[in-house]
């Protein structure tokens, strides 16, 4: 933990007696890109605000670079925030907004102009320096909010859904841009989003949250391939989640059939969640698959087909480059690797 730049120990936060964060432990390494991912209201913003110093935790410690900062006011913390609602200064033009932090640090005027111009260029706002904030679109305002924080080159940058107001194309561009910048300048990013795709493409580490509790922490690949519970599996990607029973190590039963799997350590006869990714199911001709079902719907998605296939009374979501017409009975196969066994959530 010695190269942790931000560390949260047992953070608990209540609003009006309601627990919003429940015993959060989080360690962020220098230059890491960490994403807090979870549905709306799960406590992402609150976590970020505790790191920024805008909320005080009811319990627990916040460390910055090894120093306890629970009582350090926000203006003394060496980190900057891109706020969810931009919070730009309405009485200053674009240039002055971005220059605000530099001016407070009494930086040389020439250097300020230099840095701000560079930011404007980077964010495709080259001739916008003199514009008033209310003359800009939401997307432009959002980029200025990022520029205003980034220009200070803080050790840690907190970003609260910074791309939320952008259209898909610009969002993809900015995702790429932010990631490249983060690598290039070497800033630690703590990034909040509810968009799992964004989290998967940008992060070094993803922290999946729900109801104020960290559900899982890991690399995007780990999170995607080895979700620890049904919530993570479902939230991270579309999933088929079935009720199953463990018969033995490496043996699970669901939909009335026994399957080989790779999981051990569950009790015999323990009820479990079985998670199967839509792209892991393969279509076979009728009679050749272990499972058999009727195609209910087919949608072409560009690269693959998305099908709903009814097996007994469970509707499987299947992504495949093969296709079978609606109404046809098909077989489904899967390998032991494709079956993920999870403890039943409550």
């Amino acid at each position: 933990m010695d190269n942790a730049i931000i560390q949260l120990n047992n953070i608990t936060k209540k609003f009006d007696g309601e627990i919003v964060l429940d015993d959060i432990n989080l360690s962020v390494k220098k230059n890491e890109f960490v994403t807090l991912l979870g549905p709306s209201g799960c406590g992402k913003t609150t976590t970020l605000r505790i790191i920024g110093g805008f909320e005080t935790p009811d319990e627990g410690e916040v460390y910055f670079d090894g120093n306890l900062i629970n009582d350090v006011p926000p203006f003394k913390r060496q980190l900057n925030t891109v706020f969810q609602k931009y919070a730009l200064f309405p009485h200053m033009n674009v240039f002055e907004n971005i220059a605000f932090g530099l001016r407070i640090n009494k930086m040389d005027e020439k250097l300020i102009t230099n840095k701000v111009e560079k930011m404007l260029e980077l964010f495709n706002l080259k001739n916008y320096g003199k514009r008033r904030i209310d003359q800009l679109s939401g997307g432009q305002q959002q980029r200025i909010a990022i520029a205003r924080a980034l220009v200070n080159e803080p050790k840690v940058l907190l970003l609260d859904e910074p791309l939320g107001a952008l259209d898909l194309k610009l969002r993809k561009e900015m995702q790429h841009e932010l990631k490249a910048m983060q690598k290039q300048i070497g800033i630690t990013f703590i990034y909040v989003t509810h968009d799992q795709e964004e989290a998967l493409t940008m992060s070094d580490t993803i922290v999946v949250m729900n109801d104020g509790i960290i559900q899982q922490m890991g690399t995007p690949i780990d999170i995607y391939n080895e979700p620890e519970n049904a919530f993570v599996a479902d939230f991270i990607g579309e999933s088929n989640i079935l009720n199953g029973v463990m018969h033995d190590d490496y043996l699970v039963e669901f939909l009335g059939k026994k399957f080989d799997c790779v999981d051990i350590g569950f009790g015999r006869g323990e009820e479990v969640d079985v998670v199967i990714r839509p792209e892991d199911l393969d279509l076979t001709p009728k009679g050749e698959g272990k499972l058999e079902g009727v195609v209910k719907s087919v949608t072409f998605k560009g690269v693959h087909y998305e099908m709903d296939i009814m097996v007994n009374d469970y509707e499987f979501l299947v992504h495949s480059t093969d296709m079978a017409p609606v109404g046809e009975t098909v077989g489904l196969t899967l390998t032991p690797d494709d079956i993920h066994i999870m403890e039943k959530g409550d």
């Binding site: 805008f54 919070a87 932090g101 200070n152």
Partner: protein, 280 residues
Amino acid sequence: MKDRTKYFAYPYVLWIIIFIVFPSFLVLLYSMTTKESNGLTTIQFTLENFKKFFNPLYINILWDSIYLAAISTVICLLLGYPAAYIISKAHLSKRNTLLFLCILPMWMNMLLRTYAWMTILGNNGIINNLLSFLGLPTFNMLYTRGATVMGMVYNFLPFMILPVYTALSKMDIGILEAADDLGANKYVKFRKIILPLSMPGVISGIIMVFMPAVSTFIIPQLLGGNKNMMIGNLIEKLFILNGDWNFGSSISIIMMIIILIAMSIMNKFDVDKEGGARLW
């Protein structure tokens, strides 16, 4: 489809014509005619009434009124801004009580309030009684310029506090947090964010205090005495004592022009075109 909603404005327009346009027109007419014109047949236009005003005697009274009103406005600002700031920062449950206390004196008749000050400031008033009781020398406070200024500050302070409070309490907390986040301590935050963003409220407050202050006649009459005449007293005197409605009207028109000019200059300072807390 015809837009019928415009008819709803008619009573209001009628009201404006009867009570604002028509009297103003009469004042204008009086200011530009001679005393002898007492009917349409005998009407005689003249600029004599305006010329008469450009006499050091009257000009001095005008300057003095502007000076006293300006001082009162500055004092109102110096007292009102911190008061508004404190109220806006107070806990929600206390905020309404504090605001209520600010407005409470306005529920009493202004004449009564001002009379009350006479009994406080008078030679045998409360303050001097207290001073002599403590064995200290007493002061002649009533019928001074200071008393006039004090009366104006007392009467018009709420008109400063309310618009400034509105501007301060409307301020987006997110913006203040952003300033914190970028390293601004509370002094920098006040100077660079809070003060500029509350300017629309300050300007409204200045206008709302200066306008009644510059034209008041009750306060200088009761607290300032005869020596400390303001322009409002002059106009009142011309109308009531001298019966010179024409000269009185011309001074009223000159006052109106001065106030209009002052207002438009103030509005130039108002950078926040979004509206902020502008009352005008």
